[in-house]
Symmetry: C2
Subunit: 217 residues, 2 copies
């Protein structure tokens, strides 16, 4: 049986801002160069990104960062070589979205991210831009492995967004079949979420009846 994941309304979450976080590399070429240098030192890059899901009016929405009013990405980043996957992932998430330490908002946040599932694993076979949602045939030395992790968001949470980014709640119907705007990884998120049953909860914590009950008839 598919797992049931509880979704809370977008309005349950509190959004603040914090200092800008400029891109680490100024160009794609620089990014691939850094990847190659780090591969020579530490081996395959491990990246973890989060799929944060809430709902509006009973339809799932994914929280995504938009940079410079242009391209979209998920929160998360690559891990340091010595970090375990889980601790590295949580550090990257808090660097990106946790309220700055010492602020009033920080006091309301526990800094935890509850991983519900691995949704997909993307592989980069070469020091190139293309990645695949499977390990390509005959590729024994992939250069990067990127996991998309489904996060069970708590009932309430405080998120602080770097000033050079926006955090948008994008509905599944906007992502689906929209590789042109969101790229192959983000536009596949409706597929990755397709095996779950959602339980929609309203702002009072009451399960919204009807939708799945009718659908499962």
């Amino acid at each position: 049986m598919p797992e049931t994941i509880r979704l809370y309304p977008l309005t349950n979450y509190t959004f603040g801002t914090k200092e800008a976080q400029p891109e680490e590399d100024p160009s794609v070429k620089d990014r691939l160069k850094r990847l190659e240098e780090q591969y020579d030192q530490h081996g395959m890059r491990r990246t973890c990104e989060a799929v944060l899901v809430c709902h509006e009016h009973g339809h799932p929405h994914v929280l995504m960062l938009q940079i410079a009013n242009a391209f979209f990405k998920l929160p998360g980043d690559y891990l340091q070589p010595q970090e375990t996957e889980l601790e590295g992932f949580k550090s990257r998430m808090n660097e990106r979205l946790a309220p700055p330490p010492g602020t009033q908002l920080a006091a309301q946040d526990d800094g935890d991210w509850q991983v519900a599932d691995t949704l997909a694993t993307w592989w980069r076979p070469n020091f190139e831009t293309f990645m695949y949602p499977y390990l390509p045939a005959h590729c024994t030395r992939p250069k990067e492995r990127k996991k998309l992790l489904l996060i069970q968001l708590p009932k309430n949470k405080v998120l602080s967004v770097p000033k050079n980014m926006k955090l948008l709640a994008v509905p599944l119907f906007e992502l689906y079949d929209n590789t042109g705007r969101y790229g192959p990884q983000l536009s596949a998120i409706p597929h990755y979420l397709s095996s779950y049953r959602w339980e929609y909860v309203d702002e009072d914590g009451t399960v919204i009846p009807g939708v799945m009950a009718d659908a499962a008839k």
Copy 2:
């Protein structure tokens, strides 16, 4: 942690043929008309299809039916109103692929299909051809729900293919990003399988070392 699924080589499976199974409806229009008639009588149609995975040279391949050298589909079909999901699914699978009762090949087959997971749920909101991998917003009376089920194939199995069809082992790299040839559901299978770890076993039953070990470094 992602689940590990064991994959056996394609050569472990035995393929026979059996009598042709013509399409139930001669046209898309007839098919939608039947859907509407059955909906009026029994409510939402429930369909279950199987994703059968094996490997060739350490790359996953999906077993698909090809009809009249033209379009592709997964084994499986819609359930009868009184059937439970699992018994209906197994009946449809055996009707399609089990050796005919009384034959020598039938004696080698236990008629079982081990469901490892639900990979995706597609919804048909109207009596139209389009479906979505999520329940569309505000759709409370879907007309069809189609589940794609991942089957853990046993080490050996006998499959009998209706004479008007072919059973093909299609590699993930052929399906990926190939909606034009395979349609939106089949071309998304690499995404649905992206969260699993594969354990490749050779014809002697020995786990093939290396690929995942290196990749998971």
